[in-house]
Symmetry: C2
């Protein structure tokens, strides 16, 4: 087995709405002599959202009665809560300082992924929503890389999420293209010839977590990571595969 | 920033009780010219448990009334459930085919980490418990590596866990030595000078998940991975840091 390598993509400018993200990623990839077939490009959700112009000025938001009610419970800005509700399928927990929801994309996370940090100079009350369709964002980046470099890679749009039961954020895949978000190892045999019965691996989340080791390292952040050496069978996929159906979620 | 590299440690024999795991890991590390200061060695829980002789013959286990009751609910072998109960602080969910517990080490997982697969030739009813004290196991490996190579590294004992809300297993740290299991990034500043308010990173779990990309890849499995290039401040730590206190777990 060869080593796996994680290459940080650095030197991207601050991303603005309408920026050609593929062109900027391609330029950063040149430093590592471009991608190779079978590589995986993990891109931080934040730069995808920015390029897609997912900013909302809080001064332009009128909170609904539900947002005002949640503001009472959480102590958060009712306009922020209104934006959170735009992307929420169901509010699961609301406590002082905290709101955890099922995002309309299916996964469970705090604040519906709406981000105040790292968005605009202090004082500017602007928030950033997740990409409208992160699987689609991943697919467009993958196609753009294929056009420029002539190689097929996997793409993961990564965010960092807190979790039930455990402390600290990890990386999770919210958009996937070209690799199995969930990889089924059932039927494989282990050392003694046992057939594995229950091993589905969250490949998208493993890749996002591996990249998170770099995404957060530099003072100014690393917005994307190229991963080389992971074996997988390319296929179309969706980050939805990683979402446990509510009927099978025993801790909802 | 330099790339992060994940080196698979291969060629270890099937581990037996009493084996000198440090000696075997050291030999495998030679292939990559030994560890360097600041590297992290991620070791699969299974080989640590085997070296520590954590096997149990089911034929020698007498199920308690509680194990018999759980067997009725889950359909699992009551002797296996008895072994699970030895390591259980609290049973959280029991359903047909499934038992999820708080392990006496604090984390929440299926079967209290007791493993039937990959343990003994089919037909032999032997199960494998987690290491008695995985932080201690990590510390002993770290000290053994320091004695042999004269360098200080971090060590993570990794297992794969399912999760609330999401499908597929990821890697988690159940034992840690020499690196922060939980890394506190609060107080750091982001691109725009915002001070981050809520970013604690589950460094131990990120490392375990990165290594899991290799742990499961080869047909015969990769029992350990050396990770190079992750920046962290060495300190004594414990995988307990990653366990959310029950009073703050909103999804228990």
């Amino acid at each position: 087995m060869k080593p796996i390598m994680l290459f940080p993509l650095e030197g991207l400018p601050i991303i603005r709405p309408g920026d050609d993200l593929v062109a900027l990623l391609a330029e950063a990839l040149q430093r590592w002599e471009g991608p190779q077939a079978g590589d995986v490009l993990v891109v931080a959700q934040k730069i995808v959202s920015k390029a897609e112009g997912r900013f909302v000025r809080l001064s332009e938001v009128i909170p609904s009665p539900r947002a005002l009610e949640l503001a009472q419970i959480t102590g958060k800005d009712p306009r922020l809560l209104e934006v959170i509700l735009w992307d929420t399928a169901e509010v699961l927990r609301a406590r002082p300082g905290l709101i955890i929801v099922e995002h309309r994309l299916g996964f469970i996370c705090a604040n519906a992924g709406v981000d105040r940090s790292n968005v605009a100079p202090e004082g500017e009350e602007i928030v950033l929503r997740l990409p409208e369709d992160p699987d689609g964002s991943a697919r467009r980046i993958r196609e753009g890389i294929r056009r420029r470099f002539g190689v097929d890679i996997g793409v993961v749009i990564a965010d960092s999420h807190g979790r039930a039961h455990r402390k600290g954020v990890i990386g999770v895949a919210i958009g996937v293209s070209g690799l199995p978000a969930l990889e089924d190892w059932r039927g494989r045999r282990d050392l003694f010839g046992y057939t594995l019965q229950h091993t589905e691996v969250a490949l998208g989340d493993l890749l996002a977590s591996a990249a998170t080791l770099l995404l957060g390292q530099a003072a100014e952040g690393i917005p994307a990571v190229l991963i080389r050496g992971v074996l997988f069978t390319p296929r179309e996929s969706s980050a939805r595969e990683l979402v446990r159906d509510r009927a099978y979620d025993l801790f909802r």
